[in-house]
Point group: C2
Chain length 272, copies 2
């Protein structure tokens, strides 16, 4: 989960997302709208009897804030909280799971702030089941899955890898830029992402205000998406002055056509 504003646990519940499955929580920065819901979520996990550790990746001060709150309620959690501090200029892989990695990169905001990119690892070669002989052995399938052809003892080709296998399925990636000033320095971290979420707090006519508050305009978000050659851009983090964010969408689409609005409760499928 990336970021956890006040009321997140209620939203998860409402959207039928099982909080017990959460293992990693990434917090981009310590402005309240990005983390005030975390302590409530942790408390609920505790009340529900969670036993598995929870990993939290966030600027260092979050650890003492959470610990002070647990101490004030005299709560000894029945699961481990592992804090992984993110420093000001951290650019690194912070999570390395079997099927994906997560990279953090620094963004320019008023306080220490990170963007994240979640990338699926390369997927295995697939057997072309339609062309598979019924009598093939498990050992020979194993060889094909390594991308190697199966040979007869004589050296002749028994099963040709090029014929019997299909290329791996595409590995998708998602990049997330919560709060940031317009910063083309981000482009290398976002390159060719399938979906980029980028904040668009203001419309372009408020560009000076955006710069002043270390936020971006919709056009600027689209410019970043275009430069990074991402497949799709989702805008978000609209200022409350925009009761309807449609003008932000129109503005961004003039720069980058594959732009969409993110809305509460959205599910976005990375596969196009």
């Amino acid at each position: 989960m990336i970021d956890c504003g006040e009321g997140t646990q209620m939203h998860l519940l409402r959207n039928h997302i099982k909080i017990s499955r959460l293992r990693h929580v990434l917090i981009s920065h310590l402005h309240g709208d990005h983390y005030f819901g975390l302590i409530g979520l942790i408390s609920t996990l505790h009340l529900f009897g969670r036993r598995y550790p929870l990993n939290i990746y966030a600027p260092a001060p979050l650890k003492s804030i959470i610990e002070a709150q647990l101490e004030a309620s005299e709560t000894a959690l029945n699961f481990e909280l592992f804090f992984h501090p993110l420093g000001l200029n951290d650019i690194r892989i912070i999570i390395d799971e079997k099927k994906y990695i997560v990279e953090a990169f620094p963004m320019k905001h008023r306080i220490t702030c990170h963007g994240f990119r979640i990338s699926e690892k390369p997927k295995p070669i697939r057997i072309n089941k339609e062309l598979l002989p019924e009598d093939i052995s498990i050992a020979d399938i194993g060889t094909l899955l390594k991308g190697e052809s199966v040979l007869h003892p004589s050296g002749e080709v028994k099963y040709d890898a090029a014929y019997h296998t299909l290329p791996p399925k595409k590995s998708y990636s998602y990049a997330y830029c919560s709060d940031t000033i317009y910063d083309p320095g981000l482009v290398p971290y976002l390159r060719k992402a399938d979906v980029l979420y980028h904040e668009a707090t203001f419309a372009e006519d408020m560009a000076p205000r955006a710069t002043e508050t270390f936020h971006s305009t919709a056009s600027q978000a689209a410019d970043i998406a275009k430069k990074a050659e991402v497949s799709r851009l989702y805008l978000g983090h609209y200022s409350t002055r925009y009761k309807d964010p449609t003008p932000l969408l129109h503005e961004a689409k003039q720069v980058f056509d594959q732009t969409f609005l993110s809305e509460e409760g959205n599910t976005i499928i990375l596969e196009p």
Copy 2:
């Protein structure tokens, strides 16, 4: 405002309660369901440009928790936060306003915990407008409002206070017991309150569990209400095991008839 769980600012907004009018926030104890929403509310007041101080009455650790969160976001509030620490055995008037006082008293829960009683101060004598002569002077009205009769220079009664005035309107009081084990020691603080809110986490068949967790049953809450001779009792803080708290109401009404269920969004008028 008494207590401030996660999402309180959203509930206030939804119920059209102006948060700018808030001046005193009382926190009964530092379990999350009673204060996790406070930092979000404070942040929103800041963003809305509040200038007036906000008073917070709570166990001492809350101050450093809130301050650590403001520091992490590098927020210098544009209004003063005055923390008034409540100690373990504090029994005292914590707020003395023109029209009302608030008293705190200790409750027995797993951590330092206070109940509160808000009492209107005695109200002024009222002029009986129907019996008021048209030519009466402001000075004479002032005398009557002190409860004194107006005399002619001769000493004769011109306006009799007993005739021209009405007794003060009733002063109402509201007592609040958030989380507490069954404790008849609370009765003196609750005596003759117009409305008592008392937790009723469990039904009577769960009495051992209530004691173990420092909570009360609905019957126990009703027993306290009866002993304290309050006018009305509102139950709340129902365990999530009671999807419908009606059985708690029925149980309590057998002990104290004037029992009601509190529900989200309720407005309770103290005047019967």
